[in-house]
């Protein structure tokens, strides 16, 4: 699980050389991708075991350079600004809340990987296959089990009851991705979502700017005093995996009814000069080698049916059968109006 990497010690000067090489190298012919270097553009939450991409290089002879920046929103804005002269060949990490913006800007080239046959239809949000679903995670309300004597709430509407007054902390949807997903959860649940938030406000909900501030600053796990927080379905297994002192059972649980599904996609960036190698990488992302590495590396779930979840996940989390969802086009069209209304309700 933990090993120091010799690769990681590569000197910064070496990187500069690689960078230069990466810009100039091109596939020498349509059939040959061996010896190509691909650049994978992704966000700051991307993580994999070392062996995973090494397996890809061993299979195809294609080296992968990972270029990271900011969050999914930054990634999409950057790619829109550099459209036509993309920063990389493949993007990983655009999610369903930003998908439409990326599609509208024509960031991606169409590619239907054979691996898609193993992916349930519910994840395939783009019928034209400009992007390929790779993983998903649910944004759900987490609770600190010991702090709720009469049991956790079971539905979103419970949160406005006096029993749960001053117990919930959420993130600001204007500055936080889980915060926005939770706003979408309420919009998908209630016709009068504005009324729900007004009631939440009256019931003493706390708003943090980001997940770190909510989870570590105000939720009990980080030393705060609130037993309910907007986090992920995979937070309980992470609590076990990184527990200190070690525990077998997560101190937290998830309210299934509150879960909004976030799906992350990969796409070939329009303008790449390494199209074939890029296709190979997308194919590889849907193989069990890559998919099985996803849970413990990024704490999200693989999308292929044949992936095997590690026991830590299967023991501590059940994947919600019918999560809350909204159409990416509706999300993009509604975003500014919804967040503006939310700000008005919460701080007006």
């Amino acid at each position: 699980m933990r090993r120091p990497t010799a690769l990681g010690m590569a000197a910064v000067i070496g990187l500069a050389l690689l960078t230069t090489a990466c810009g100039s190298e091109q596939a020498s012919g349509p059939e040959r991708i061996e010896g190509t270097t691909l650049t994978l553009l992704t966000h700051d939450s991307f993580a994999l075991s070392d062996s995973t991409l090494q397996a890809f290089t061993a299979q195809t002879g294609v080296k992968v350079e990972i270029l990271e920046s900011g969050d999914a929103g930054t990634l999409v804005s950057q790619s829109i600004l550099s459209a036509g002269n993309p920063l990389g060949d493949v993007m990983f990490g655009i999610d369903n809340t930003f998908l439409q913006r990326g599609l509208d800007a024509e960031l991606f080239e169409v590619y239907a990987s054979d691996g898609l046959s193993d992916v349930p239809d519910s994840f395939r949000l783009d019928p034209l296959n400009r992007v390929t679903p790779i993983d998903f995670g649910d944004v759900c309300i987490n609770y600190w089990t010991d702090a709720l004597e009469s049991g956790p709430p079971t539905a979103l509407s419970d949160l406005t009851k006096s029993e749960f007054a001053d117990q919930l902390v959420v993130e600001n949807p204007e500055t936080s991705s889980p915060g926005f997903a939770f706003l979408l959860a309420t919009i998908a649940t209630f016709d009068d979502w504005e009324g729900f938030w007004a009631d939440l406000r009256a019931n003493g909900v706390s708003v943090a700017s980001g997940w770190e501030d909510a989870y570590y600053g105000q939720f009990i796990s980080g030393g705060g005093d609130r037993p309910l927080v907007v986090s992920y379905a995979s937070s309980p297994p992470a609590e076990v995996f990184y527990s200190d002192p070690p525990v077998d059972v997560a101190p937290t649980g998830v309210i299934d009814e509150s879960c909004f599904r976030q799906i992350e996609f990969a796409g070939i960036l329009a303008g790449t000069s390494n199209r074939l190698a890029a296709e190979a990488l997308i194919d590889f992302m849907l193989t069990p080698v890559f998919q099985n590495d996803i849970p413990l590396s990024m704490f999200v779930f693989p999308v292929i049916d044949s992936a095997i979840l590690p026991p830590l996940f299967s023991d501590n989390v059940t994947v919600v059968d019918d999560p809350l969802t909204l159409d990416p086009a509706d999300i993009e069209a509604g975003r500014d109006g919804w967040t503006a209304q939310w700000v008005e309700i919460m701080f007006g």
């Binding site: 990466c22 990271e68 920046s69 980001g210 570590y216 030393g223």
Partner: protein
């Protein structure tokens, strides 16, 4: 100066700032405003929300600056009164807050608020503007102590002695004899604190609580969350114009009058014992409490304490592409390169600002300080869409990170150097010349030692700025194994679990130690270079 030297002194800083700042920023702003830029600017001023945001941005920055000066000026006096060795240590210690990521400091502050019951009730600090001001004082304390302190230590105390002999009271001596001579340095420090507070991001979002926005946080909101680059660019224009106006103002104050400066000595400050202790206690409470909270958290393991989290920094956790210590090493390499760039560019630019023609001096002062008051989004996106073609396809080169850091470090070098260079007493030079010293000798024995004093303090700043920089770094594309320590720390805190949290705290403590040692080392370079002054 010889013509060739003059030419280089002008060309090197000018090229640097034009290529890496002016041109990218103009490019991104014109791209953003291409559609209906003017209309969007008009809309901004017509929106009552945005007007409120602009007003809040300005007044919180003014209040933060005033408060920081109020708290840190006495400390600058105290530090000036110490022996050179102790002064160097004190200067290094106050730099520590600089490298602490906001999210970590915010966590520490909230811990303190909770302990002292300031979260709710009649005296509430949590999620108020007071929390913002407090954090800005915490982060900017070093700017005032270092910039003003170095100047104060160089003041000729005989003037004060004469004033006292002539019957002036302590307060009157300070306000009428000391303060006017410090004015250029105070203006210099104040402008940096103002710019930092003006463009503050994490502090506003996390400590200010929900619903509070500044121009800086709104640029992010529009550019990234909403994808509305036109409004973001309009806000960026407003930000830049406001910053230009401010810098022009302080430049005037800085120029006000040249003051006598001599070799540093222990400043003869008649500071009362009670006053001194009150200030030291405040310093310890303000700077020490969050730091103590961090150290405690980094050592807390299960039920007791151990160094286990520090040991874990050697290994790679799944959340990071490399072991955390490799990220520290990356940060050190970037900081060394960024400091070297900032010292060369900033050092030469200071000479132009002080000795150059008036118009040129103005332009240099404005142009080189501006990056500090410009949004990380503007700089990051600007570089991204501008330096994207050979011969300067630097978007994905590792060099772009130290270059961005140096852009922010240069203003520190310039702002510490300029008051020092301006302060060199012309009569000193004249006396030397009359006594028969050649111009080169005058430069070597008067300008150089005194100037180098400013340069090392500026270099220490540039180093600390680079080690702690988060905003611009996070907006630039980076190779996964050249991850910097602040980014690594942020990633450790992005997944639940006590082990990751402990490691993040240990990493923060390592960063503090590294920067304190590095600043001491940088400032010792000068100690040996000019004969251990």
């Amino acid at each position: 100066m010889k013509t060739a030297v003059k030419l280089f002194a002008v060309l090197i800083p000018a090229t640097f700032v034009v290529v890496f700042f002016v041109y990218p920023v103009i490019n991104v702003l014109s791209t953003g405003l291409a559609g209906d830029g003017l209309g969007s600017l008009v809309d901004l001023f017509e929106s009552s929300r945005e007007r409120r945001v602009m007003w809040f941005t300005v007044w919180q920055a003014v209040a933060s600056t005033a408060l920081t000066l109020l708290v840190a000026l006495p400390a600058a006096a105290l530090v000036a009164g110490l022996s050179e060795r102790r002064r160097r240590i004190a200067r290094a210690l106050v730099t520590v807050p600089f490298v602490l990521p906001t999210v970590v400091v915010a966590g520490a502050f909230e811990g303190v608020f909770q302990r002292f019951g300031l979260v709710s009730g009649t005296v509430r600090v949590h999620h108020t503007v007071w929390a913002i001001l407090l954090a800005h004082v915490f982060f900017n304390y070093a700017v005032v102590v270092r910039t003003v302190g170095i100047h104060w230590a160089g003041l000729d105390g005989r003037l004060e002695e004469q004033a006292r002999l002539l019957g002036a009271g302590r307060w009157r001596t300070f306000t009428e004899v000391t303060l006017p001579r410090l004015r250029p340095a105070i203006a210099s420090a104040a402008s940096i604190v103002f710019l930092f507070s003006f463009t503050s991001f994490g502090v506003i979002l996390i400590l200010g609580g929900p619903g509070r926005s500044t121009i800086e946080t709104d640029i992010y909101r529009f550019a990234v969350t909403r994808g509305d680059l036109t409004t973001a660019a309009s806000l960026a224009v407003v930000q830049i114009v406001a910053v230009l106006a401010l810098i022009s103002l302080t430049t005037r104050l800085e120029r006000h009058r040249p003051v006598a400066t001599r070799q540093p000595r222990q400043a003869s400050l008649a500071v009362g014992r009670a006053w001194r202790w009150a200030n030291v206690s405040l310093m310890l409470l303000l700077l020490g409490t969050p730091v103590a909270v961090l150290v405690e958290r980094s050592l807390a393991v299960g039920e007791g304490y151990s160094l286990r989290h520090y040991g874990a920094l050697v290994h790679r956790t799944r959340q990071l592409p490399v072991p955390a210590l490799v990220a520290v090493r990356n940060s050190l390499v970037f900081a060394v390169v960024a400091t070297a760039l900032a010292v060369v560019v900033g050092g030469l630019a200071s000479l132009v600002v002080v000795h150059g023609r008036r118009a040129l001096s103005r332009v240099f002062d404005l142009g080189l300080t501006l990056p500090l008051g410009t949004s990380a989004v503007t700089i990051g996106f600007g570089i991204l869409i501008t330096l994207d073609e050979p011969p300067l396809d630097l978007r994905t080169s590792w060099m772009i990170i130290p270059i961005a850091h140096a852009l922010i470090g240069v203003p520190f070098v310039v702002r510490t150097m300029v008051p020092v260079l301006r302060g060199i007493d012309n009569s000193l030079r004249e006396v030397a010349a009359v006594l028969g010293a050649a111009p080169s000798r005058v430069r070597r024995e008067i300008d150089l030692p005194i100037g180098s004093r400013g340069l090392v303090v500026g270099a220490g700043f540039a180093f600390a700025v680079s080690i702690g920089e988060f905003g611009a770094t996070s907006f630039l594309p980076r190779h996964s194994d050249s991850i910097t320590a602040p980014i690594a720390l942020f990633r450790l805190l992005a997944t639940p679990g006590q082990l990751l949290q402990g490691q993040a705290m240990a990493l923060a403590v390592v960063l503090m130690v590294v920067v304190a040692l590095a600043v001491v080392a940088i400032e010792s370079v000068r100690g040996t270079a000019d004969g251990g002054l």
